[in-house]
């Protein structure tokens, strides 16, 4: 439809990037390849180094060591205005003294393009805001400013578009809508998007690949499904969605199935999903994978009994139960409200069960 195909020259590579501020290491020996044309998310809590990484790619910070490449070109020491990279800033950073049209045309004009009309009109049509071209940014709503910020960046057809918490300032409903829109724009223009966020839902909705960052390092990288179903560290298991992590001792560790002991109950899991080699592990299972039944009912293969329901909250699509186990640990269970939900009340004795293949095991340290 709209020809804004990127003049992209290849994958983005970060090689052994370290960034030190005084005595604080923001990014620690980070190596990362972001394939051309992908929608990549850097996900992590504040202070994990994701924004610093983004700023280094944009050229707003210089790495202490390591190098940054786009295709075969080393851009580590290239000035920001000489990089084929554009950024959608956190609060959009639209120029308040320029019209929407001039904001979008800014990058084109700086590169000496004489006739910017066609390109600007096209990109404004893409974000469906052509009718606002003579307004000033202050006269636009947050969602509209956000789209202009995207338009101002992609009109330059960069090899790489960086998005720094682009939806942080929007309300929930608008954020959902913009997630879908951004994803659509990315597919439409085919530019590599690198998206920084602390919102796991945002990352999972939009990105093909997510890198979860913590303390300046990448904890785990993969597709949203992979990260959700197969977290490799405790941090990832807790940061993406909710996880129940229970201390366990490995009993047998041979063949396709691993058997562990949780306070006297035998729990099975596929050996391929045990990322630990130690005997003490953390066994994980997602709350929505667990079935909750009144004590004594027939259970699945993996089951834990003796739990007491301490809290129930109805959240529309599901009901969330908080169950206290005999060893005083709280376990979360989500039941779909599809008519088959059991009639369980606060204080009831329950048995929790789930299929072995939904179980994973992690190293208890880290």
């Amino acid at each position: 439809m709209v020809d804004l195909t990127s003049s992209a020259v290849g994958d983005l590579q970060l090689r052994n990037i370290t960034k030190r501020f005084a005595d604080f290491v923001a990014v620690d020996d980070l190596t990362l390849t972001i394939p051309k044309g992908s929608f990549f998310a850097l996900l992590g809590p504040s202070g994990c180094g994701k924004t610093t990484t983004l700023r280094m790619i944009a050229g707003l910070e210089e790495p202490t060591s390591g190098s940054i490449h786009i295709g075969d070109t080393d851009i580590t020491h290239t000035k920001p205005y000489q990089r084929p990279v554009n950024t959608v800033f956190q609060n959009y950073a639209l120029f308040p003294h320029l019209t929407i049209f001039e904001n979008v045309a800014f990058g084109l004009r700086r590169r000496g393009m004489k006739d910017v009309d066609e390109a600007v009109t096209k990109v404004l049509a893409l974000v469906e805001l052509g009718h606002l071209k003579d307004r000033k940014p202050g006269q636009l709503s947050g969602g509209q400013q956000q789209r202009i910020a995207v338009a101002r960046a992609i009109v330059n057809r960069p090899a790489l578009l960086l998005l720094d918490e682009p939806l942080g300032a929007l309300d929930l409903k608008l954020r959902r809508q913009m997630q879908i829109e951004l994803k659509w724009i990315q597919t439409e223009v085919g530019i590599t998007f690198v998206h920084v966020t602390h919102d796991q839902e945002e990352a999972m909705t939009m990105a093909d690949t997510i890198a979860v960052m913590n303390k300046g390092k990448i904890e785990q990288m993969g597709s949203p499904v992979e990260l959700y179903e197969n977290p490799k560290t405790v941090f990832v298991a807790n940061f993406l969605g909710q996880s129940n992590l229970i201390e366990a001792t490995v009993q047998t560790n041979s063949g396709a199935e691993t058997s562990v002991d949780i306070h006297g109950s035998r729990i099975l899991l596929p050996s391929s999903r045990n990322t630990s080699s130690k005997s003490k592990v953390l066994v994980g299972v997602r709350p929505e994978k667990i079935n909750i039944q009144t004590e004594g009912s027939s259970a699945g293969k993996n089951s834990l009994s003796g739990g007491v329901v301490t809290d129930i909250s109805f959240v529309g699509v599901s009901t969330q139960y908080q169950v206290e186990m005999p060893w005083k640990q709280e376990i979360m269970v989500f039941e779909q409200n599809d008519g088959g939900a059991p009639n369980i009340r606060k204080g009831d004795q329950v048995t929790l069960s789930w299929e072995p293949h939904f179980t994973f095991a992690l190293d208890s340290e880290s």
Partner: protein, 299 residues
Amino acid sequence: MAIAHVSPGTSTHVNPERTGRRIPYLLMLPGLLWLFIFFIYPLINLAETSTKTRAASQETGAFIQTYRFANYLDAFIEYQDQFLRSFTYAFMATLLALVISYPLAYAIAFKSGRYKNILLILVIAPFFTSFLLRTIAWKQILGAEGPVVSALRALHLIGPDTTITASSFAVVMGLTYNFLPFMTLPIYASLDRIDPRLMEASGDLYANGLTTFRKVTVPLSMPGVVAGTLLTFIPAAGDYINAAILGNPTTKMIGNVIDSRFFRIVDYPTAAALSFTLMAAILFLVIIYIRRSGTDELV
């Protein structure tokens, strides 16, 4: 309205909405009263004086109202050189102050780091001494035995008999110096308000440092530049202290003429007519300036 309930209403029958609407006027009252007593009333008085003529008795200070508007024309024709000189000096001082202040304000706003507050205090520090004393000090600095003249002589840039004081150069220097903070502070305030991310965004959009300065920083600092130039130009055009202390009889500004007409020659109508002409001229120039700089679109 929450504010209405806070108002110290003695009557319980006060309509809260009406009280709320009255509050802005109450807040403005002291200022308006002050302005009326010390500005509007003298202004009316001055207007009245400006069309008077000398009483038949020829007694000093005795004037009668004759509605002689030709006073204005006479005064203007007689003192047009001083008018022109006032605006030229004020313009030169404003330009110089802008050239000095902009880099200074820029450095304080963006490059001073933890010294920001100290530098701002230094900008304001001259106000701790009186305007008059500072101008007299400049007489010393630029005087024949002063450091400036000595240095220039040592460098053979001026001859051994050349002096700097009692010249138009000294008057413009004095005006520039005295009004410098009025230029620096508004420019600093508008530069300091600029979101640094706008400059990053400009760099991200292929603008180098100089282009970013021209296309982003300067336009966004225009409100400060306009405020600063007005705050410098207006008082400088009406100033008479600098010309009196640092100038000579050929550097008289219109303020000096008004001063001498009022207090030495005791020709109140001419002084009043000159005052009004000066006000009108400044107002006219300021309106053109604001229109042309188009600052109302900013902010």
